[in-house]
């Protein structure tokens, strides 16, 4: 399998703190890859580096053979990387439909002057139909006119994921897709993520603290601690890895110096 995304020697420092420290990993096309680690391990920083919201101090990021670091943040989605945010990236005052339309922003071709003159409605109508179609395929069309902020939290997370799909990405970055969800919602979301990979062939890189979800749906897991990669492998292997257990639970009591 080919690596769709590969990160090498990635380093990001905030003042004296090294949030990401010489990180190497790659994501194979068609896989669901989990990026896990204790709080403050640098997972979200890695996402922000990949989506170019942060500039790395060192290292390289290659996506589909292109040097990602040569692109400004708003071009990343054009290359085929869409993302969701840990604390919701929905635009609260826009309806679900309008949120989805922002998601396919780069798909609009019409110039500003024609738009101001009231032309370009054909394009707008087609985009609306496309968005409604995507909502329908996930059984969410009834939500279209609702203002995003009025939806329940779990639904907002799902809508944000659908919005990311509107850009027709090859790689989807999901930052804690099930944070704050109960067991039923988590199961629904797990199915949802699998469907996206299976039906649309979208590669997924996700950050998540819910280990049951990560172990259930991920093909490959990368573990971070203090900005460094401490382990990598399939779920079954990661679960038994002593360094991972130590990072999450601390050293064994017997060996710890009190």
């Amino acid at each position: 399998m080919n690596a769709l995304l590969s990160v090498s020697g990635l380093t990001k420092r905030f003042g004296g703190l090294t949030a990401v420290d010489g990180l190497d990993f790659s994501v194979a096309e068609g896989q669901i890859v989990g990026l896990i680690g204790p709080n403050g391990a640098g997972k979200t920083t890695v996402f922000n580096l990949i989506s170019r919201l942060l500039e790395p101090n060192a290292g390289a990021i290659t996506f589909a053979g292109q040097n990602l670091l040569a692109f400004p943040p708003h071009r990343v989605v054009t290359l085929g990387i869409a993302r969701t945010f840990q604390n919701l990236g929905l635009f609260p005052y826009l309806s679900v439909l309008d949120n989805l339309l922002v998601g396919r922003h780069r798909g609009f071709r019409g110039g500003v002057l024609p738009l101001a003159l009231g032309l370009g409605w054909g394009e707008e109508r087609r985009a609306r139909e496309e968005a409604l179609g995507v909502l329908r395929s996930f059984g969410m069309e009834a939500l279209a006119p609702a203002p995003a902020s009025l939806l329940p939290y779990g639904t907002q997370k799902a809508v944000e994921l659908v919005r990311a799909l509107m850009a027709r990405p090859r790689l989807l970055l999901l930052d804690e897709p099930v944070a704050g969800m109960n067991a039923t919602e988590t199961a629904t979301m797990a199915q949802f993520i699998r469907r996206i990979r299976d039906e649309r062939g979208v590669t997924v890189l996700l950050v998540e603290h819910d280990m049951s979800l990560v172990m259930e749906i991920c093909d490959h897991i990368v573990v971070l601690d203090f900005g460094r990669k401490i382990a990598e492998g399939p779920p079954a292997e990661i679960q038994r890895n002593p360094r991972v257990i130590e990072a999450y639970l601390g050293e064994e009591v017997g060996r710890a110096r009190l």
Binding site: T78, V102, A116
Partner: protein
């Protein structure tokens, strides 16, 4: 569809106003028209894109002086002079992009304040062109080769320009541009992740805002016939901000309502000597307290389906007809 009908009805009613109105009423309405355009221009920038500006009177001044000088020296027609003045102001708008790409919220507001102050300070000092502190007379607008001398003709020109500008704003707000503006205002990082370029859309917001305000300035110059630097100071910038805050800044009806109200308020209060400023302040405080989302937010709140459902039957039927909701 119903919205279009009501808009047509409103424009039709306004077009019929000269049949009975006095000259002074028409003058006030023309003044309100200029303020509406300026308020819509500020709403695009501050209400929709979230870029706080308290320097937009600077653009108003550039538009007003620009139009006056263009007509004076080039003798061009009204419909050429006004867009040119708007464009001149619009291009100056890009100047504010320099601070806007680095600063947000109140810090950006201070930068815009500096811009507004710089313009209003520069005008009187450039006396050879602007006429200094005394100001300058604005030559009468020329339309189809005729001089526009009376208030009825000026009123129709102002109405036409306003309808065109409001329509342009409406089309843009409903397109991907409006969505991108709101996205930048609410979640800039998510907006970028969706492919919205902050640089490009902030530039567009400043350009549009300056363009609208410049056109408003050009119209204002023609309506009043005489302009001086003191009209375009900080007070005017704050006045514009109050218009959109009162009306509801992230909407189109909001700035329109706010601009009309704030144009008329001083005239309604002018009969009451001495208490004028007190009542003016009290009115503003009252509105802010009782309508925290502006007049339009207030209207939206009380016309929400659940509120309408609780109205007595005949009132409810009328309300549902007006709102276009029939069961």
């Amino acid at each position: 569809m119903r919205g279009v009908l009501f808009a047509l009805l409103l424009v039709g009613l306004l077009a019929a106003v000269p049949l009975w109105a006095k000259t002074y009423d028409l003058y006030l309405l023309s003044l309100a028209a200029a303020n509406v355009i300026a308020a819509v221009g500020l709403a695009l920038l501050t209400g929709f894109t979230g870029q706080l500006s308290i320097g937009n009177a600077g653009f108003l001044a550039i538009g007003a002086y620009g139009a006056a000088l263009i007509v004076k020296h080039l003798g061009v027609e009204f419909w050429v002079a006004i867009p040119l003045a708007g464009l001149l102001s619009g291009l100056t708008g890009f100047l504010l992009l320099i601070p806007a790409l680095r600063l947000t919220a109140i810090y950006l507001a201070i930068a815009t304040l500096a811009f507004g102050t710089a313009v209003s300070e520069a005008l009187p000092r450039w006396a050879s062109v602007t006429g200094g502190y005394q100001g300058m007379r604005v030559p009468p607008a020329r339309f189809l080769g005729l001089n526009v001398q009376n208030d009825v003709a000026m009123f129709y020109l102002a109405l036409a320009v306003t309808v065109v500008m409001v329509l342009l704003a409406r089309n843009l707000i409903r397109s991907r541009v409006g969505r991108a503006f709101i996205a930048i205002r609410d979640k800039p990082a998510a907006a970028q992740a969706c492919g919205v370029s902050l640089t490009r859309y902030k530039a567009l917001a400043f350009f549009l805002s300056a363009l609208f305000t410049g056109i408003a300035g050009g119209l204002y110059a023609h309506v009043v016939g005489y302009i001086s630097p003191s009209e375009f100071g900080l007070g005017k910038s704050i006045n514009l901000f109050v218009m959109i805050a009162l009306g509801g800044m992230a909407s189109l009806p909001g700035p329109v309502l706010g601009a009309v109200f704030l144009t008329y308020l001083p005239h309604w209060l002018s009969g009451i000597r001495g208490l004028q400023d007190v009542l003016y302040g009290a009115a503003l405080i009252g509105i802010v307290v009782f309508m925290p989302y502006g007049a339009w937010g207030f209207v939206r709140k009380w016309t929400a389906p659940d509120k309408v459902a609780r109205l007595p039957r005949p009132v409810r039927a009328a309300a549902e007809f007006v709102l276009g909701r029939t069961r």
